[in-house]
C-alpha cells in the first residue's frame, strides 16, 4: 500500500504518468480510502483551474496583448 507522502509526491510531480501500472493502481486505491489525499489532489486541481482563470481574466494583460499585436503588424518587413 502506498503511503500518503508517496502519493502526494507522485501526483504533484506528475510522475504518475510514467510510473508503472502497479503504482498507478496503487494511487487510485489509496485515493479511494484516504480522504486527506483526495482533498489534497482536489486542491491542486482547483489551483490549476484558478491559475487558468487568472490568466484569462486579466484586463491589463489583454490590453498589452493588443498593443503588441499592433506593434508587430506595423513592423516593416
Amino acid at each position: 500500500m502506498l503511503r500518503c507522502n508517496e502519493v502526494t509526491r507522485l501526483v504533484a510531480s506528475e510522475r504518475l504518468q510514467t510510473a508503472g501500472l502497479m503504482t498507478r493502481l496503487g494511487v487510485r486505491m489509496h485515493l479511494m480510502v484516504c480522504r486527506y489525499c483526495r482533498r489534497y489532489v482536489a486542491q491542486l486541481r482547483a489551483i490549476g483551474r484558478a491559475a487558468r482563470g487568472l490568466a484569462e481574466g486579466d484586463p491589463a494583460q489583454r490590453e498589452a496583448v493588443h498593443r503588441l499585436i499592433r506593434a508587430l503588424q506595423n513592423q516593416p518587413d
Partner: protein, 197 residues
C-alpha cells in the same frame, strides 16, 4: 507534439494570414510566460516583441516538428538566458521540502493533513489569493507551473524547452504546487474543522 503540415508550410512561406494567426494565438501565452519568468511588464513586452521578430526572420527554418508555440517559447527562453546567467539546475534543497516533510509522520501518513475543503466552490477567492501567492514562488518554479497549468504544454515539451530531465521537472512542479497550496491554506482558505489536528 508537432504542427499541422499546412500551418508549417504557411509559416515557412511567411503567409501573412498564417503569421497573423500565429501571433494572435501565441502572443498572450508568451507574454504570460515572460511575466512568469520574473520579468517586469515592460521588459516582458520587449522580450515578446523581439521573440516574434526572430520568428519572422527565421520562419523558413521552422520544420513543424514542434508546435509553433513551443518553437516560440524556445526562442524566447534562449533570449532570456542570454540576458541572465544561464538558468541553473534546480537547487537540491528548498524550504518547501521541509514544510511538506513536516506534514507527514514517520509512517508516511498525514500528520497535519491539508486544511480546508476541496476549494471547489471558492474559485473567485482562490484567484484573488493566488495572484499574491504566485509572487512567492521562485521564478523557475513559477515558469514551469505556468507553462504546464496555464499554457497546457506537455511535460515532454517543457523538458525540451528548459533542457531539464523529467525528474527535475517533477521536482519543480512538486515544489511550485505545494508552495501555492501552502500559501493558499495559510491565507485562510479553509472551512471545515476536521482538518485541524
Amino acid at each position: 507534439m508537432g504542427e499541422a503540415p499546412e500551418r508549417t508550410e504557411g509559416v515557412r512561406r511567411r503567409d501573412p494570414v498564417v503569421m497573423d494567426a500565429v501571433v494572435r494565438e501565441c502572443l498572450p501565452a508568451l507574454l504570460r510566460g515572460a511575466r512568469a519568468a520574473g520579468l517586469a511588464q515592460d521588459r516582458a513586452e520587449d522580450l515578446v516583441q523581439s521573440t516574434f521578430l526572430v520568428f519572422f526572420r527565421r520562419a523558413e527554418e521552422f520544420d513543424g516538428r514542434a508546435r509553433c508555440l513551443t518553437w516560440l517559447y524556445g526562442i524566447m527562453l534562449r533570449k532570456l538566458a542570454e540576458d541572465r546567467r544561464s538558468v541553473s539546475r534546480e537547487e537540491p534543497t528548498d524550504q518547501i521540502e521541509a514544510i511538506m516533510d513536516a506534514r507527514f509522520g514517520s509512517d508516511g501518513q498525514w500528520l497535519r493533513p491539508p486544511g480546508g475543503p476541496e476549494w471547489e466552490l471558492e474559485q473567485g477567492e482562490i484567484r484573488r489569493m493566488l495572484r499574491e501567492c504566485l509572487e512567492t514562488v521562485p521564478e523557475r518554479q513559477r515558469l514551469v507551473f505556468t507553462l504546464r497549468e496555464v499554457e497546457g504544454l506537455t511535460t515532454e515539451e517543457i523538458c525540451n524547452l528548459l533542457e531539464v530531465s523529467s525528474n527535475n521537472l517533477g521536482v519543480l512542479l512538486y515544489r511550485a504546487r505545494n508552495r501555492l497550496r501552502e500559501c493558499l491554506e495559510g491565507k485562510g482558505l479553509k472551512g471545515n474543522s476536521d482538518a485541524q489536528v
